[in-house]
């Protein structure tokens, strides 16, 4: 049975048996892939899956219209699976409220609960390789002179229009009151002037330190084409190197920022 057929079968089964009241998956819309929220087993054959299904559906789990249907099932590739594990670790979803229709690299792992998903990730997807091109550019920027780097980012951030599409696309951005919405005090100026855009983009990247699963949703969503994954990838590399921290593999994971070890790096302190 093909991956798609298996997904359809499991989705239908989950909805029929009531183990899921809603299935989050992909469908075709004018030849492009779009999310679908299935509540009726009959619609299961609308579900599709292929390489173009890149959107991280975990992001929908913060939406009331989805949450009211818990327990739900989500079609997820490894990065999205990690997002789901991360959300559970941060108590955003109860372990029993989500079933994962786990799609691996061209194989289907079946309908798994979150513990099983975490185990699958640890066993089969412990080191998901990032695109070579992305890593190459991270090195390239790291190798730049201070001035070059500054110029590069000043130019990049100047494109930001503060539309917050990155925020909406990210499963990790579940705060009802994002810091960017706060105005008393207004830590992050809303002006799309350098100081505002710097503050927002840096804060966004920092708030995902040790939480980002590198699914790429934010960069994909950015209408201005800001290379947000460069920041995410760099931070992810740092925290893995410094603290051996990899997000989304453990339901009991402690937050990176908010934990410590006496032997943490002290070299940068005077």
């Amino acid at each position: 049975m093909s991956i798609v057929d298996s997904i359809r079968a499991d989705a239908a089964d989950l909805l029929q048996t009531g183990r899921a009241k809603l299935v989050l998956g992909y469908r075709n819309r004018q030849g492009r892939r779009a999310p679908i929220l299935l509540t009726d087993a009959a619609g299961a054959d609308q579900l599709v899956y292929d390489a173009e299904c890149r959107q991280n559906l975990a992001a929908y789990l913060r939406k009331p219209e989805v949450r009211q249907h818990f327990p739900v099932a989500v079609v997820a590739a490894p990065p999205a699976m990690r997002s789901l594990v991360m959300l559970a670790a941060e108590s955003q979803i109860a372990a029993d409220s989500v079933t994962v229709l786990a799609v691996g690299e061209n194989e289907y792992h079946g309908a798994l609960d979150l513990p099983a998903t975490a185990q699958l990730l640890r066993e089969k997807y412990a080191n998901l390789a990032l695109p070579e091109e992305l890593l190459r550019r991270v090195r390239e920027i790291a190798a730049m002179s201070e001035e070059e780097r500054a110029a590069f980012w000043t130019e990049q951030f100047s494109k930001c229009t503060r539309c917050y599409a990155c925020r909406s696309a990210c499963p990790g951005c579940y705060c009802q009151w994002c810091i960017s919405k706060r105005n008393v005090p207004q830590w992050i100026s809303t002006a799309d002037l350098p100081h505002g855009t710097y503050a927002w983009n840096i804060t966004r990247a920092f708030h995902h330190a040790g939480r980002c699963t590198l699914c790429g949703a934010c960069e994909a969503a950015c209408p201005q084409g800001l290379p947000l994954m460069l920041l995410n990838a760099h931070v992810a590399e740092c925290v893995e190197k410094e603290f051996g921290h990899k997000t989304g593999y453990d339901l009991a994971e402690k937050p990176l920022i908010g934990s410590w070890r006496t032997e943490d790096d002290d070299g940068f302190v005077r």
Partner: protein, 670 residues
Amino acid sequence: MARVGVFICHCGENIARTVDVAAAAAAAAKFPGVVYSVDYKYMCSDPGQQLIRKAIADHKLTGAVVAACSPRMHENTFRRAAAAAGMNPYLLEMANVREHCAWVHSDRAAATAKAIDLIRVMVEKVKRNRSLKTITVPVEPTAVVIGGGIAGIQAALDIAAGGKQVVLIEKSPSLGGHMARLSETFPTLDCSQCILTPRMVEAANHPNITLMTSSEVESVGGFVGNFEVTVRRKARYVDPAKCTGCGECWSKCPSKNIPSEFDAGLSRRTAIYRASPQAVPNQPVIDAQHCLMLTKGRCGVCAKVCPRGAINFKDADELVKVKAGAIVLATGFELWDHSAYGEYGAGRIADVIDGFAFERLASASGPTAGEIRRPSDGAEPKTVVFVQCCGSRDEKVGVKYCSKICCMYTAKHAMLYAHKVHGGRAVVFYMDIRSAGKGYDEFVRRAIEKDGAEYIRGRVSKIYRRADGKITVRGTDTLAGMPVTVEADMVVLADAVTPRADAQKLARMLGVAYDADGFFSEAHPKLRPVETAVAGVYLAGACQAPKDIPESVSQASAAAAKVLGLFSKPKLEREPIVSHVNRITCAHCRACINACPYKAIEDFNILDRSGKVLRTVSNVNEGLCQGCGTCVSVCRSKSIDLDGFTDEQVYLQIAALEPVEAGAKTEGSS
């Protein structure tokens, strides 16, 4: 609309010399929200405080900034003044223009500009200060005393006498500590055990004192008034409820050759043993390392002979949790190990002993029943050399400080020796004689003049044992300017007094600071000598610095007084600097719960009328929160904030430093 008053202190000339206080006052007057600004010679003086109280009343101030010394100096003074004028004390802040400005800069223009900045920063902060009420937390009126030596016993007895409960924790099987091992005590030469044992018994029997021997502190949680101390009660293999201390067991125990800790290795003990005949509690314990039953699984003689069936080889460590309002540290000291001195035989010469060994030799209850006999062959030493400052005042190999008690006990040793070995020769090498104390110098003089101890001022350079058994002690007489060699039969080294090896571990558990030498640090060397920087934790005895018995006892009583003071009120007032969760915006990611050093944040269910859980959020327990604000930093949505240092306050303080024209509105300060 805020009505802030600014009060700039000259501190005599201290501030006014470098800061143009008049200009600063004029500048401050122009700050938005400032309705009154004045400079005065001594703000902390009575008229100065008068001035503040009057201004608060006259100008209906909603906030006040005193630009003067460090808040550590006078914040309380000024807040009291504000309170007296009917203003909430937490609406007054200080700008530190002395320690942080006037005293560290010389350029008047730059210093003035900086002072004005510092004042503006505090004005912006004070505008957003809220009236706070001091938090009261209940006090658990039980004290934990760690260490069962004379200091711990004294502290425990005094607290108990004050009618409060005490848990007295001693690592070894018996109370008494080092003092129980001493022969006689300077400067009166009364028998140590005669004066100590009654205290030990009293402590053991006191209705308010719970005695925990063979016990060690495992961990400490909580804070002043509400500590939770976890104690490891080590397996003793003897049921204290059944044991009568009859002695059948240790008289029959086959493994007899264990060097006695109590007798400094000069005698042997059995595997089931009491520290000494005067041990309190007077019940044996089994030393698991040497017990044949526990090591090899065969023997069990003690169990067979015990008439009460008190032996229990299955006994195991247990963890006991104790709730306490205060903790007294009385962990005492140990002696520096002179084997580090190669020139003194590197600890390999049997007849070169330390002070405790000599105490045991001189003690009527000691291995020699009070006769001075040298360890190697039990012969009576005709010449004994006493070497002071062994390890003390020696930065390179030993410790840099003076151990304080050695001059006195060495004089005592020389005296006891003279009394016990008639015609014996006592030679004392010393650097200086430090015998400050009531009757102390007279005591040393007596040792020299009446008991004929030969005092030689100079260091000993080499001690070695010749094949014929004689010990050659070589040194210099710096007064005569001559090298001296003494042929001795025994040498007593006055080893330096050092903190307990495991004291630092305990300090870290409690967050108590310790100095470079490992002694616990007092909160203030002169004015708070028995308190530590950690509220509710007090010091007694040699764990803080080398001390003799009278000093240890008086510090112990002082610590007890502090504890009783703390316990005198049922509740304890605390600074209301605690954090609060905004339940509407909290996303419940639990980062704060994970980060809080005091476990003060917990889950909180928001219920609907029917009691159904609508949402779960974080919630701060004010009693536990100590106000560090770590939770605020880990909260991405800023749904948790810290009173006294709110996000808005800090934001405005930073904004106040923006180099822009006056009146330029800063974002968010709406």
